[in-house]
């Protein structure tokens, strides 16, 4: 674990997976400066926090109160215990995707069909039928603004929950932008993040291809994409992390808030008594209807 002396008072500061620290003796905020390496690159860009902790706390309180009916009722009265503004390391990915695809395109047509009725007379009616035609072609596009988490603390899924970030507002990295905040070091290897980015880019290409298909429908879409001109930039994105204690015997609920847009994501614990109560009420209504139907004349 790298340790550095505090510039203000000389105390030893431990930087465990972070590039910023606050000295416990003199409260001075420090930022690590060092030669960037492949394992620990310097961030290139920073999306800065747009609001302060009070605002984040207020929107979290509002969010906790406005959860669905099945959420644990203890959440409404929960204590917001721990709040941290963290610059989460991530990679911002963009690339050019060339995809070759083949598919069966459904085209509808109408046909007159004669049918014999039971009484021997016949009727004609129009039925819609489908013919499948093969189609092969290419699809080219830029895939931009793919973000993958390079943090050990915040998983890729959790980060995806609070996306998007407006990268038009980002800035070049400067240590003063993270001074006084927690800035996590890049913890996931670049190659792992590249693979995750490629996977996400390919998913995006697949979604675009499904919208790209003509006809009244399609089946057997098969495609292969070649990704060229990749770029991966290390960025820091702002995230408020909250630990919410709502019951003494349960682990605290983890909630992440997008520090730029205020988007909130967290897995809300459900209340089993409420779900059972709802089921009982539903069953009672069902039984009541059944009973009424049986006894009605």
């Amino acid at each position: 674990m790298p340790t550095f002396a505090c510039e203000q008072c000389g105390a030893h500061l431990a930087f465990d997976g972070v590039r910023t620290a606050r000295c416990p003796y003199c409260a001075s905020p420090s930022v690590v400066e060092r030669q960037p390496s492949a394992e620990q690159p310097d961030p290139r860009f920073v999306v800065v926090f747009a609001g302060d902790a009070m605002g984040a706390r207020r929107s979290l309180q509002h969010w906790l109160r406005s959860r669905h009916w099945f959420a644990d009722p203890a959440l409404r009265a929960a204590r917001i215990e721990d709040l941290r503004g963290i610059y989460v390391p991530a990679y911002l990915y963009s690339a050019v995707a060339h995809a070759d695809y083949t598919a069966s395109i459904a085209e509808h047509y109408h046909e007159q069909e004669k049918r014999k009725r039971k009484d021997g007379t016949s009727e004609t009616r129009t039925v819609t039928r489908t013919e499948y035609r093969p189609l092969a072609g290419r699809h080219v596009s830029y895939v931009t603004d793919v973000v993958v988490s390079a943090s050990r603390g915040l998983s890729h899924g959790e980060l995806a929950g609070i996306e998007p970030f407006d990268f038009r507002q980002m800035r070049r990295y400067n240590p003063v932008l993270v001074s006084g905040w927690i800035a996590e070091e890049f913890a996931r290897p670049l190659d792992e993040c590249r693979v995750a980015s490629q996977r996400e880019a390919l998913e995006e290409v697949g979604a675009r291809l499904r919208r790209f298909m003509p006809g009244d429908g399609f089946s057997d879409l098969d495609w292969r994409a070649e990704i060229v001109w990749e770029s991966l930039d290390p960025v820091l994105v702002p995230v408020w992390m909250f630990a919410v204690r709502y019951r003494g015997d349960r682990p605290p609920l983890r909630v992440a808030i997008n520090g730029q847009t205020g988007e909130i994501a967290g897995k809300v614990p459900v209340s089993w008594p409420r779900i059972i109560a709802a089921l009982v009420v539903l069953a009672a209504i069902g039984l009541a209807i059944f009973w009424w139907w049986r006894t009605a004349p």
């Binding site: 072609g137 990268f167 006084g180």
Partner: protein, 316 residues
Amino acid sequence: MIDCARCATPLEEGDLRCAVCALSVPDDVIPAVGERARVLRCTSCGAAIEFDPAHQAPACAFCRSVMAIEQPHDPIETARAYVPFLVERDVATSAARSWLRTRSWFAPATLHDEAVLESLTPVWWAAWIVDARAQVTWTADSDHGARRSAWAPHAGEVSLTFDRIVVPASRGLSPKETAQLVPFYDLGHAAPVDGTVIQVESFDAQRSAARAIIHAAIADRAQTAVEESIPGHRFRNVSVACLVERLTTDRVALPAWLLVYRFRGAAYRAIVHGQHPAVVVGRAPIDWGKVGRLAAVLLAIAALIALIVYWGRVDS
């Protein structure tokens, strides 16, 4: 000014990424010498400073000074060139008058005599002039090669060049109005806006937002442009996917006379082209009495036909 390495679009000063393909702009990083933990200090009082979201900059908690740092460079765009007026005020006035005289049959008959020209203001409305190349892949259904269904799927690829297309940036004029005005401007004779005191409508969009609008406009044009490559006579479900390259934009101000006239208490607007007085677009009042009478006559004719048909049936 350098070009983006990936899509050859010229980059503008302050760009961190290419606005078209999102490739980051290379910058010269001065590597840190040695390893240390630094306390960043306020330049005026020497206290440690922290980033303050309220100021969007590092601020000192003691002397309240805010450190000036590089801010995201996203200026509101302004016109760089303007196309001069070729229509004088009196010509515009008479063009407006004759336009009022030649309105459709539905306009009130007394429109020309009763309309009061309230104001005629010269305006320069904002537009982008865009050059770009695009590699476009498309899919569509067309009647070519159709079998049992009226439609058969087709796909293709085409390279398109967009040469000086005008993308309106005006909030004041509607897309319909600008579409009618655009073909009649002589863009070859634009003069640079420097020191010229003209009232140019502001672009109302920051640079980054502007690029998004332009990019969307290009995709929109591509959608119409690929129609030529689709085989057959009829088509539907046209989709395009494109790689835009070498996108350059110029910001211009285009001249027009904005006419406001009053007819029976209500205000109406029309626009006289700043270079061709014959081009006037706008809205004229509708005489609902006339519309009602026409509808009544049409109904009467329909009723008469129905009656004749009915009588014919009864007789036979």
